[in-house]
């Protein structure tokens, strides 16, 4: 780990100013991504600005939706009664990720900002266009079983590892930010992430010094009936091979509205409008679900070792939708 100076901010304004003034300064919340990568020398910030004392730890709700503070721990969000009741896919996605200890440490905004677990990204002696632009990509011809099949480029095939984000893109979440001099904006999460393209080192639309303050999820007729399914080699504490976040609004056996997010397969948290278009207006059942799965993975670009993900992702989506339908009858009635 390279040396750094540490400071703790006592207000959003102080945090923004600290990061604005020092070129190598970064925001430090849960630290589970940052410290991990700093130990590997993958990231080498000159200054850590600790934002844990900022008033960003509340979960509030009104008729419009739920607003989660950036510093809310993953475990607290997963435990919140309103999230469990009205946005089950969000609670399920959170609980499917990491371990209990990590969920207690990791912040919600930090989850959005986490880095790929690509072994070549994490190895400073390997070629990686994301970590070191122009150096090449060892993953494309290397050990790429866990890598992405959607949204890739010839420069980068790294998977976005978050479960939470797959649920958030399916729920049309919005990220609220602030930066120096009173600037603030709202960014739909579906517009937050950048595909690797020619610049895999640019992962989000955030500017330097821009701080995520809140994550807002709007209530919607479709969000309450939602589900997250994660498929992986182990039963627990492992990243997804494939996963699906699904939400359905059903009337008279037909799909009125659908939301589909895919995990484990995209370079960014993957919202599948292709699957949604196939689902909407069709009878809810295996035939429709299979067609939606085909559409979702139609643009997949498999590599040497991850071709299994294409078929696995389709089956994951179908099973997620079927599990959601099976649960439909058992759940409490909508209020």
């Amino acid at each position: 780990m390279q040396p750094f100076s540490y400071t703790s901010a006592d207000s959003v304004a102080a945090a923004l100013q600290a990061v604005d003034q020092q070129p190598g300064a970064v925001f430090f919340a849960g630290g589970t991504t940052l410290l991990d990568l700093m130990k590997l020398d993958v990231v080498t910030p000159a200054q850590l600005v600790d934002i844990n004392r900022l008033p960003l730890s509340s979960i509030e709700t009104d008729d419009a939706g739920i607003t989660i503070g950036a510093n809310v721990r993953n475990s607290d969000a997963a435990h919140h009664p309103l999230i469990r009741e009205r946005l089950p896919v969000l609670a399920e996605a959170l609980l499917a990720g990491a371990s209990a200890q990590l969920r207690n440490m990791a912040s919600m905004a930090g989850n959005l900002m986490q880095k790929t677990r690509c072994a070549y990204y994490r190895d400073v002696n390997a070629a990686c266009n994301k970590r070191n632009p122009g150096s090449g990509c060892n993953a494309i011809s290397g050990e790429n079983r866990m890598h992405a099949v959607l949204g890739t480029s010839e420069l980068c095939i790294a998977t976005h590892p978050s479960d939470l984000c797959v649920a958030l893109v399916a729920l049309n979440a919005v990220v609220r930010t602030q930066w120096q001099n009173g600037h603030a904006r709202s960014i739909p999460l579906n517009e937050f992430y950048l595909l690797p393209g020619d610049t895999p080192n640019r992962e989000t639309v955030l500017e330097k010094g821009e701080l995520i303050t809140q994550i807002h999820i709007p209530f919607d007729s479709v969000n309450r009936r939602s589900h997250y399914l994660k498929v992986r080699d182990r039963a627990s504490y492992e990243f997804a091979l494939t996963s699906a976040a699904v939400a359905l609004e059903i009337q008279n056996g037909g799909v009125v509205k659908a939301r589909v997010g895919l995990g484990g397969v995209g370079t960014v948290p993957w919202r599948s409008h292709e699957a949604e278009k196939v689902l909407q207006g069709e009878p809810a059942g295996r035939h429709t679900f299979a067609a939606a799965a085909e559409a979702a993975l139609a643009g997949a670009r498999p590599r040497r070792l991850n071709a299994l993900k294409v078929e696995l992702a389709k089956r994951t989506l179908i099973l997620a939708l079927e599990e959601l339908m099976a649960r439909k009858g058992k759940r409490q009635q909508e209020k």
């Binding site: 780990m1 040396p3 750094f4 100076s5 540490y6 703790s8 430090f28 630290g31 589970t32 410290l35 991990d36 130990k39 850590l48 600790d50 844990n52 475990s75 997963a78 435990h79 009664p81 469990r84 009741e85 089950p88 609670a91 399920e92 609980l95 499917a96 990491a98 371990s99 209990a100 200890q101 990590l102 207690n104 440490m105 039963a235 627990s236 504490y237 649960r327 058992k330 759940r331």
Partner: protein, 192 residues
């Protein structure tokens, strides 16, 4: 809190790179003068003389370094010591009350929940906090309906295994660990 102790080898970390701060560990204030890069785990093991928290992987994957921050289980290897000056830190050494073992510690002995013992402090710290979480109504990945948590009494074997999945044991003492947790559950109701 008892008296302040200054601990750490100041000679190897000269004043111009070290920072001075105080941590509250097992009810005692400990002042350190260390490099800011010092993890909470290294602070405990190398600078405060509490080697009960173990370094298994040093990258957040094994759980052997599990400690409590304000009663919640976290990983000391992925925590910076300097970032936790305002928290109550509890380590395995702080679990027993003098000679009286915590029910979880007794249960691990009764059920032979270890072999080499290296993961054991982390397992115990994790298990104690896990039961507290269950009592608070926290659901898990193994809960069929996230809106209905099982509570401490309703924890199935699958629930216990899922909730303890952040602690690995190379010796494979898992069945006995689960048994120990079930035994300790009886004493845990009502909290400690």
């Amino acid at each position: 809190m008892s008296e302040v102790e200054i601990t750490s080898q100041a000679e190897s970390t000269p004043v111009n790179t070290a920072v001075r701060f105080t941590l509250k560990i097992n009810g005692t204030a400990r002042t350190l003068q260390v490099d800011p890069r010092t993890t909470l785990l290294d602070a405990l093991r190398e600078h405060v003389g509490l080697s009960g928290s173990k370094k298994g992987c040093d990258q957040g994957q094994c759980g052997a370094c599990t400690v409590h921050l304000n009663g919640r289980r976290v990983l000391a290897c992925l925590s910076l010591a300097i970032a936790h000056q305002h928290d109550e830190i509890t380590t395995i050494e702080g679990l027993a009350r003098g000679e009286e073992l915590h029910p979880m510690q007794s249960a691990f002995m009764d059920c032979d929940g270890f072999q080499c013992g290296y993961c054991t402090p982390g397992q115990i710290m994790s298990a104690v906090a896990m039961l507290a979480e269950a009592e608070e109504g926290v659901p898990s990945h193994a809960t069929p309906d996230v809106s209905r948590a099982p509570g401490i009494d309703g924890l199935s074997l699958d629930e216990i295994r899922e909730r303890m999945s952040g602690n690995i044991c190379r010796c494979g003492a898992y069945p006995n660990i689960v048994e120990a947790i079930q035994q300790a559950r009886q004493s845990a109701k009502g909290g400690r």
